[in-house]
């Protein structure tokens, strides 16, 4: 049975359960006119029965689905000829993969032999059986739960409190998903990174200056370990981030100042939405623009003045990234500037300051913590930005500070290493997770710092 059908059936059952529960509560007190004799509104009895009908069944279903493929795979492996079972893990995984493809009718990468065909049939058999069992168990559990709940209903049964308790737990569950996500990120990145550091020493990764993971793809060959010195990536990331910041911070800050202090209401009414449009453009579009418009333009401009500009120069990516970040810097700076009490501004103007003196000598120093916090967030955004650099920066891991040369970044390498075939036992694939760990840790620190500085600063003037 399809899982969607099963869910639909469960929904039907739940609806039925609702009306049964509601009906029973009313009949207990002698009909719809006597509702007030019940502890709770009749609907709550309905909800109570419906919850007990559907919730255990759903839990069973999700647990089953999680374990299903594991169990089935284990069964299939157990059914394979012994020669297959003794294969190394990597090859076995490949074989299982092929059997799965065979079973679902997809293209298979190797010649199919009889035992594979048999295994595929077996796999399909197990899957069908598993689904049938699941449907039977889930529907049975739904009926059982509903019936038990239905029997518990009586005049003084506190149905509302029960239902609300369940809803409360659901709300708690929803709010812990955010925490679970963080834990999930940490664990998934950490485990694979640890596996990477078992193959490549952390010191080599952190302090090595050569990055060429491509040779390591032949992990089964002797002496083919690639080099995983990530310094060129960190340097490239920092180079592009610095270019972006050199563009975004002054322009974003001056924009915020101009809009807050000088512009007329009409100009502000036009410029602010336009900046929001700039902020809403997807990064892949910025990447396209950087790669197909800005980079060639920089190259030809460079040629005409006699500077050799690489067609995947750090400058092109950094420039466009800087423009992408302008709205972020300007809106955070705007918040910071507006948080300075207007009494400060009046005080400075009242002493005879010009507007620029008021801004640079009084308001900006007062708003500085907020602005710095905002810049930290912007830096974190630039470091984690992926599409622009994937499309406009190169793959060459050059260790250089020359913005006209091609450099590569942490995010580019993560994408390069993980797009295409992955082998979770090769250092090449695992290196992506080690880079991901670095990226996560660095941006996390910047974010925590930036957010707490911004917040503390806001409290100062609240």
């Amino acid at each position: 049975m399809q899982s969607t059908t099963l869910i639909l059936l469960l929904a039907l059952l739940a609806t039925a359960a609702f009306f049964f529960g509601r009906g029973r509560s009313l009949s207990l007190v002698g009909g719809p006119g006597h509702g007030p004799a019940l502890h709770s509104l009749p609907g709550y009895y309905g909800y109570f029965v419906a919850i007990w009908c559907v919730l255990p069944a759903l839990l069973l279903m999700s647990g089953w689905m999680l374990l299903e493929s594991r169990v089935v795979t284990a069964l299939v492996i157990a059914g394979l000829p012994e020669s297959y079972q003794l294969m190394p893990e990597g090859q076995l995984n490949l074989l299982i993969n092929n059997i799965q493809n065979l079973a679902s009718g997809d293209v298979v990468s190797v010649a199919v032999d009889e035992s594979m065909q048999a295994a595929a049939t077996e796999l399909n058999g197990y899957l069908t059986k598993s689904r049938q069992l699941l449907a039977a168990f889930a529907l049975g559990l739904a009926c059982l739960g509903g019936a038990l709940a239905w029997r518990r209903i009586d005049r003084d049964f506190r149905a509302r409190n029960r239902v609300e308790a369940v809803v409360r737990w659901l709300l708690i569950g929803a709010s812990s998903i955010a925490v679970l996500t963080t834990i999930g990120i940490v664990l998934s990145v950490l485990f694979e990174a640890i596996r990477f550091f078992q193959k490549v020493p952390a010191t080599e990764f952190l302090f090595g200056t050569t990055w060429s993971p491509q040779t390591a793809i032949r992990a089964d060959q002797v002496g083919s370990s690639g080099s995983f010195g990530a310094i060129p990536l960190f340097a490239g990331t920092m180079l592009i981030t610095s270019i972006a910041m050199v563009i975004a911070v002054p322009i974003g800050l001056m924009t915020a100042i101009y809009l807050a202090e000088y512009s007329t209401t009409r100009v502000r009414g036009i410029a602010k939405p336009l900046l929001e449009v700039l902020a809403g453009i997807p990064t892949v579009v910025y990447g396209f623009f950087a790669a197909l418009t800005v980079a060639p333009w920089l190259r030809s401009t460079g040629d005409s003045v006699g500077i050799a500009v690489s067609s995947e120069s750090a400058l092109a990516a950094g420039l466009v990234m800087g423009i992408m970040i302008i709205p972020l810097v300007s809106s955070l700076s705007d918040d910071a500037i507006n948080a300075v009490p207007s009494a400060m501004r009046d005080g400075a103007l009242g002493l005879g300051s010009t507007r620029s003196e008021t801004m640079t000598k009084v308001i900006l120093p007062a708003a500085l913590p907020g602005i710095v916090g905002g810049i930290l967030l912007a830096v974190s955004r630039a470091i984690g930005e992926t599409m622009i650099v994937v499309m406009a920066a190169g793959l060459a891991a050059n260790l250089t500070a020359n913005p006209f040369e091609a450099v590569t970044t942490v995010t580019v390498q993560i994408v390069t290493l993980l797009v295409g075939d992955q082998e979770f036992d090769s250092a090449k694939t695992l290196a992506a997770f080690a880079l991901g760990l670095m990226l996560f840790v660095v941006t996390l620190c910047l974010n925590v710092l930036g957010i707490s500085v911004v917040r503390k600063y806001r409290e100062q003037y609240d």
């Binding site: 929803a174 996500t181 924009t255 984690g384 941006t443």
Partner: protein, 425 residues
């Protein structure tokens, strides 16, 4: 007050310099504001300049004889293996009889799109009785023909430097003069999946992929986000756990999106063994990505509901849960919806995490379910942007215009909702 006068004089002495500084500062501000807006203008001008032409496509008129000799040599029409290209090629040969020899003919055939044969096949499939008659078709021309007609290929440069030979250009000109070439609306862009041939490539597959993903995302992230916001605002005790959740959510909103991709790869694909390249997985990743946005917006909306309304309901004997679901939530709903739309528009434009979970493959078929391999609109843009052909660059811009149009619509909806929401309590 002896030095009063000197104060005024000293101030006056410095005034010129200070005014100049003021002017410079103000000009810098104006310049900075202009940079962003200028970029936007250049950006849209480039985009529309490059992409507008992709909505038109050159079609070629062919009188095709649906000859049974070519497509049904055994007497039986086999829609899969019959040589439909042979029909269109024969028709083109009739139009350009001056091509002689195999190599010239091969050159001539390159003016036809691979889609021409498919079009004839589809026609025959729908009208089997036309076998043996001659029908007029408007079939897509090859992308190079299209590029020449749109003026994107410079016919004056050396023959070896351009994709069309002198002879091909002459043929195209003669076809054009005979009225056999026509520029029509490019429906294929919206009805086809991806293709290696630019003139056949469309964004329908990517749009459906994005649609399936957004369906998964909205059906998970809206209820979960709203529930989390309600708990945090209305029920959560102020203790370390709720502080932790709060810090967590704010941080998650700023975690690079590619990290969510790593999470999706490790958890959904490797650990839960969900299918790669599937909109289901993409939707799950985007759910986690948009949740913080929705939670933060929903909390702000709940906070904006005045406490007097809660007190009034509590005073009438409603339970806290009833207060929330009967009073607070309906009032906060516009704000929550606005936040959700903004989250969805972010999800629609997101591509980096999708690269991690295999949604970057070349997929021709339009996905029909949540587990079919699929691409997404921004990923399609990424893939096309990588293609060297000029015709793909044009289509990339067109796809971007479509994506931006969707985003604009979503943001408009958010703005309208926000306007409605601005109520005076």
């Amino acid at each position: 007050m002896s030095d009063t006068h000197s104060t005024a004089e000293k101030v006056a002495a410095g005034l010129g310099r200070r005014r100049r500084k003021e002017f410079v500062f103000r000009t810098l501000g104006m310049f900075a504001t202009g940079v962003g807006i200028l970029f936007l203008a250049v950006f849209f001008a480039t985009l529309i300049g490059n992409g507008a032409s992709a909505f038109k496509q050159t079609f070629m008129k062919l009188e095709v004889e649906l000859s049974a000799d070519i497509i049904a040599p055994g007497g039986e029409l086999d829609l899969v293996y019959a040589d439909f290209d042979g029909l269109t090629r024969a028709a083109l040969r009739d139009k350009l009889p001056d091509a002689s020899g195999r190599s010239q003919r091969r050159e001539m055939y390159r003016l036809l799109s691979a889609g021409a044969g498919y079009q004839v096949r589809d026609f025959l499939k729908a009208n089997p009785h036309t076998l043996g008659t001659t029908q007029t078709f408007w079939v897509p021309a090859a992308s190079n023909v299209d590029m020449l007609m749109k003026g994107n290929i410079d016919a004056t440069i050396d023959e070896t430097l351009r994709p069309l030979s002198d002879r091909q250009i002459a043929w195209i000109r003669s076809l054009d003069e005979a009225g056999d070439l026509e520029s029509r609306f490019n429906m294929a862009l919206f009805t086809n999946g991806d293709s290696r041939e630019p003139e056949l490539a469309g964004i329908k597959g990517a749009m459906m992929g994005s649609l399936f993903m957004l369906l998964v995302t909205i059906s998970l992230s809206f209820p979960i986000g709203v529930a989390a916001a309600i708990y945090l605002e209305e029920f959560a005790p102020k203790n370390r756990w709720s502080d932790l959740i709060e810090v967590n959510i704010n941080n998650l909103a700023a975690v690079p999106s590619i990290v969510f991709g790593l999470l999706g790869l490790a958890v959904f694909i490797n650990w839960m063994s969900l299918p790669r390249s599937a909109p289901l997985v993409g939707g799950l990743v985007l759910t986690l990505l948009t949740l913080p946005v929705i939670i933060i917006a929903s909390r702000a909306a709940i906070k904006a509901v005045p406490p007097s309304i809660r007190e009034a309901a509590l005073g009438l004997g409603a339970s806290q849960m009833q207060v929330v679901f009967h009073h607070v939530m309906p009032l906060a709903m516009p704000g929550m919806l606005t936040g959700t739309i903004i989250g969805m528009s972010r999800a629609l434009g997101e591509s980096a995490p999708l690269l991690m979970i295999g949604m970057v493959a070349f997929i021709v078929d339009v996905p029909t379910s949540f587990t079919d391999p699929a691409s997404a609109l921004p990923v399609q843009i990424y893939l096309w942007a990588d293609s060297p052909e000029r015709a793909f660059a044009e289509r990339t811009s067109a796809a971007i215009i479509v994506l931006l149009a969707f985003l604009l619509l979503m943001n408009l909806a958010a703005v309208i909702l926000r306007r409605r929401m601005e109520r005076k309590w």
